[in-house]
Amino acid sequence: MQDKDLNVIIATDCGSTTTKAILIEKKGDTYRQTFRGEAPTTVEAPFEDVTRGVLNAITEVEELSGRKILDGEKVITPNNGNTGVDVYVSTSSAGGGLQMMVAGAVKAMTGESAQRCALGAGAIVMDVLASNDGRADHEKIERIRQLRPDMVLLSGGTDGGTVNHVVELANFIRAADPKPRLGASYKLPVIYAGNNKAHKEINDILGSKTALVITENLRPVLERENLMPARHKIHDIFLEHVMQQAPGYPKLMKMVGAPIMPTPAAVGLMTEKFARANNYNVLAVDIGGATTDVFSVFSEIFNRTVSANLGMSYSVSNVMAEAGVQNIMRWLPFKIEDQEVRNRLKNKMIRPTTIPQTQEDLQVEHAVAREALRLALAQHKALAVGLKGVQQERSISDAFDQTSSGQSLINMMSLNYVIGSGGILAHSPRRIQSALMMIDAYQLEGVTMLAVDSIFMMPHLGVLAQINEKASLDVFYNDCLIKLGTNIAPKGLAKEGEKILDWEIKAQSGNQSGELRFGEIFIVPLSDENAEVILKPAKSFDVGAGKGSRYEAKIQGGTVGVIFDGRGRPLELPKTEGKRVESLEKWYKKLNMYP
């Protein structure tokens, strides 16, 4: 669709609890988000029709904007004066999203590629099955039988290689005879994206028992992944099978002007577009009540992971189980018994919709968020890696750089931009709280810009990017991102009070300069404008150009400003409780974190 045809857009995101609609209008040369509305999602009884919630959310936009968008249950297109829109697009994560099981011959090779493929398509990966996953055969079969995925992605072997492992996995799937999650009446879709030599055997084994779809190998040779064909098949099946079973979706699919995308796939696409348009390395996170999604684009490679049980309400207790209660307590600027923290978090788990009412309780939630973000990034780092099993050709210069195959692509020093979304980051009472949660959890290094997506508009913009990239990027810059500012954290360790950095900020609003000493953290105000920073670190500190090297970078200001973090990397909190509480109190006070 051409830009000239597209002046008014309505977009919805059908989440598990809320359906959000936004109206986007072209003002001069720029697209802006103008009105929004929301309504409870209506996938569950008594409505069991997702379009009810969609119509309610759009009706709210109609009321606020004065534009007539609906004619009964139809979206009026195209726009004409104050009536209608040019296109309606939507994403969906209602009904538990897209749940998949993936299988690959070798866990660290095709198993991981299959996992990356499914995650990138917006799925929740329930389990990764592999010939060498350490489980006995009968345990694997039991597991397949217990899970009720929406679909299975089976891969294994390079093209023309051995067929044994993948045939064995196919036999296990057949023996387990798994049933799809929704609608017992249809066959479970299985996508085969493995060794092309095994097509006949796979068809013989699974053809009659499952809805088998054969596509290109996602790892045709060890050195290369080819994830897109299988990802497209996942989307096709998501629309053709899974969505058809969900209440009201067949109707919704007729209303939209572009295919419905799973919400995380749309967020991923938006992250990719943003990174590419600016030539940035980007990390985006969406921390919800139950799950945390992490998206990254490093050196133009996109990755997504879902930490299915790391979240702030339903999964809050799992954050404690995985991180350990002591790791949560280390962020609290007061003394408290671990039994008290344990009971509070369990009480949040059983009553997940309650909200903190005291400063102390808010700080406990912020401590949990740091740990959830930290763990989700660790999981992301483990999957966002170079291809394993690949012999690397090394030049003379590489020989000094001891990289091995399968190294994580995530490098905090080369990260340019972090975007946070989800209640705890988007709605924290003070923006500095969101900024410091991300700085602490990710231990940001060097120069990193920070923003939050306050009303979680990225899904809408991602699905819009499919048909009009300019419109989605315009709104993304102007309305979606709330820029917090930039964090500057020299990497290295020194004695408390030692000078570690000389800095200079050149901005239109005026130039500023100063120094940073080890152990301190402070903010230099810089409102929403672009600026240049010149950094001269001490000889054992690195801010992006190597130890002791001067570094210049373009930065942005925002609601927080420029944060100079001299606490050192890796950030080591004092070991004793008294000292630790004292340091936290000092830092939080300096940053004006809490009243």
């Binding site: 569950e44 538990g96 055969d137 009968h138 079969i141 039991e142 039988r145 067929v163 044994n164 045939v167 064995e168 036999n171 296990f172 057949r174 023996a175 387990a176 005879d177 055997e201 139950a290 049980n309 339903y314 999964s315 207790s317 799992n318 404690m320 189980a321 995985e322 039994q339 344990r342 009971n343 509070r344 978090l345 369990k346 009480n347 788990m349 059983i350 009553r351 997940p352 919709t353 309650t354 909200i355 903190p356 009412q357 005291t358 400063q359 102390e360 309780d361 808010l362 709605h427 009472p429 003070r430 009243p595």
Partner: protein, 375 residues
């Protein structure tokens, strides 16, 4: 907005309940519509397909996968006994010392033989899975091949969190008031098979004692998360429970910590002491909320009227329980429901309500932090 939606836990003296009892996979329903059933009657049953085991025959015999059928003594669908020979080599001139053979790892059937991997899959015989009625009542619906719906009149009490599966037993109130702790010495040997009702809190030793005497269940106001971890051996991450095998079903009515059981719940349980209850600890907080429950069939007294469906929102005059620090567990009456957002101590702007406490004082708290007490 004149009301807020805050569903609470149901604590109802007398209500008509319907319980859906469905098999996970199709099977046979054993009762007809209209029949009366007891809690322990099997209402439906099915066969769970047996476990699958694999043996790589070609590796062990040192042959090629494509030749596997020449060495197999059994074919797909054949019955096998554990240790029965299922494949063997044919040695030159029949020299038996050169012969190698492979036997079946289980008693069951041969599921598949692969000429590509050389693997043979075996399946154990199916297991019978019986489905109990769980509550005493009348069958009002039959879903062919899947199960039944049972209707019963009785007392219905929901807890906030539980562990352990469905059990039955007589109600035994082991403490004098809802605000005292259930101590180990309160639990007597004769409480075997009973549903023990405690007050404010049950510590690790009390729960252990209840398991030791063989009680069916413990129902109490609060427990410590630390003790829960000790009992289970792990930290519960996500609240999906009901399958724990710890020898008892545990139901917490209020939350974690020392929290007196609501007076109303305690008195209701006391009024039904000595009667048979059906109890389940199964809790699920995501996707279709499920809370643990205590169901006591039969009328609690002649003057009690059956309860209609709840309205599901809060109005001025409703009794609510505060469910977050710093007033956790306190009960009060709603006096105001202002519609404007208000800043609370965290500096968040949220919807609030005003609650009058039992001591006469009034406090303003977020609406998200109360639940209605449904009677």
């Amino acid at each position: 907005m004149a009301h807020a939606y805050s569903p609470g836990l149901k604590v109802v003296p007398f209500i008509t309940l319907r319980k859906k009892r469905m098999l996970p996979i199709p099977g046979k329903v054993l009762y007809e519509k209209g029949k009366e059933v007891d809690a322990l009657d099997t209402v439906a049953q099915t066969e769970l397909p047996g476990k699958v085991f694999s043996v790589n025959v070609v590796n062990r015999l040192g042959i090629e996968p494509s030749e596997i059928r020449n060495y197999m003594l059994k074919k797909e669908g054949d019955q096998v006994k554990k240790d029965e020979v299922i494949a063997e080599t044919k040695p030159f001139l029949g020299l038996s010392f050169l012969k190698s053979s492979i036997s079946s790892p289980i008693t069951g059937t041969v599921e598949s033989i692969s000429e590509i991997t050389g693997q043979v899959l075996f399946r154990e015989p199916p297991k019978i899975l019986p489905l109990h009625a769980y509550i005493k009542g009348k069958i009002v619906e039959v879903e062919e091949n899947f199960g039944v719906v049972i209707e019963a009149d009785g007392t219905f009490i929901q807890g906030i969190f539980g562990i352990g599966g469905e059990v039955n037993g007589e109600i035994k109130v082991a403490v004098d008031s809802p605000d005292v702790d259930l101590k180990p010495e309160d639990i007597k040997e004769e409480y075997r098979g009973k549903v023990i009702v405690g007050g404010r809190h049950a510590g690790l030793e009390s729960i252990k004692k209840a398991i030791k005497v063989g009680a069916s269940a413990v129902v109490v106001g609060g427990i410590h998360d630390k003790d829960l971890r000790e009992i289970l051996g792990y930290d519960i991450g996500v609240a999906v429970t009901g399958t724990e095998k710890i020898g008892i079903t545990l139901i917490v009515t209020e939350g974690f910590g020392h929290i007196p059981m609501s007076d109303y719940t305690f008195k209701l349980l006391k009024s039904r002491e000595g009667e048979k209850a059906s109890v389940s600890g199964a809790t699920q907080i995501r996707a279709g909320v499920m809370r643990p429950e205590i169901i006591i069939p039969g009328a609690p007294g002649s003057d009690v009227k059956k309860k209609e469906e709840s309205r599901g929102w809060i109005e001025v005059g409703d009794q609510v329980r505060i469910i977050r620090e710093p007033h956790f567990g306190i009960i009060g009456t709603v006096t105001q429901l202002p519609s404007e957002l208000q800043a609370i101590a965290t500096e968040s702007n949220v919807r609030v309500l005003e609650v009058k406490l039992e001591n006469g004082s009034k406090i303003v708290i977020p609406r998200a932090n109360v639940e209605i007490i449904e009677k």
